[in-house]
């Protein structure tokens, strides 16, 4: 999924960068966002990811804190 095209201002973060980012912060300091479908999330997701399937994002973005960095996949 080309998330970068959907999140126009999003920057790429490699998995290594993401691991380092998450390891150095408490979980209340960022949002890990899973925008895949529910079945995909249930099969495997990064621990702590918040599921908001992409089709629902425009109506549910209020559940997220805009002041926190978001890592989406």
């Amino acid at each position: 999924m080309m998330l970068k095209a959907l999140f126009s201002a999003a920057r790429d973060m490699t998995p290594d960068q993401a691991r380092a980012f998450m390891a150095s912060r408490r979980e209340d300091q960022y949002t890990l966002l899973d925008v895949r479908q529910t079945g995909e999330y249930e099969r495997a997701h990064i621990p702590g990811a918040r599921l908001i399937p992409l089709p629902e994002l425009s109506s549910r973005f209020g559940e997220l804190d805009p002041l926190k960095p978001v890592i989406a996949y």
Binding site: A18, L67, I71
Partner: protein, 197 residues
């Protein structure tokens, strides 16, 4: 999409989850969330967490006789002791939140010790994970999977809670789980290299 809604810092995980080589969790968003109503305060939340940790201690204790060799059995004991120290930390946080709260022994008595951090019952988990015994590497890989599920459960719980001090307790516990995962990863590397643990 988010950037247009005022989100200041948005990253896209390059390669998505297929490129993610770290641990993953599985299961529905709601798994294990029946343990709490969402209205718990910090002390009530820590009682639930203490019970979950009790389940994990029971898991390693009950797994020990199933170990395929002495090293795996010794590791079971070590992991159970680590979880007991984790319980001590949870109890300490509980008594800070509830100075006139229950004694540790009473809390332990009330804990069902049947449900692990990931929300699964101990006998079921043992039968599923170790139908034919296990060695040290298998135990550590399993332990890391359990810790990843526990980390996921604590963070999903934090999304359900409305009380901020209770949520903060879960973030504290999540930090503990992350440190525990790193320690387990170090042990697994030692085992894989054939070094004593």
């Amino acid at each position: 999409m988010l950037a247009g809604r005022g989100f200041q810092e948005v990253y896209s995980l390059a390669g998505g989850i297929k490129a993610w080589e770290g641990l993953t969790a599985a299961g529905p968003v709601e798994r294990g969330l029946g343990l709490l109503s969402g209205r718990e305060d910090r002390a009530q939340l820590l009682v639930i967490a203490f019970g979950l940790e009790s389940g994990l201690v029971a898991f390693y204790r009950q797994a020990q006789p199933l170990a395929g060799d002495r090293r795996a059995g010794d590791l079971c004991q070590r992991l159970a002791q680590a979880e007991e120290r984790h319980q001590d930390m949870v109890y300490g946080l509980y008594r800070q939140a509830a100075p006139a709260g229950l004694e540790r022994a009473e809390l332990a008595r009330r804990a069902t010790a049947l449900v692990m951090e990931g929300g699964e019952e101990v006998p079921q988990a043992l039968a599923r994970l170790f139908p034919q015994g296990f060695g040290a590497a298998e135990l550590l890989e399993t332990a890391m999977g359990i810790e990843a599920q526990a980390l996921d459960l604590y963070l999903r719980m934090s999304h359900k809670l409305t009380d901020e001090p209770a949520r903060q307790a879960l973030y504290d516990l999540a930090q503990e789980e992350k440190a525990h995962l790193a320690a387990l990863g170090g042990l697994l590397e030692q085992v894989t290299r054939g070094e004593p643990v």
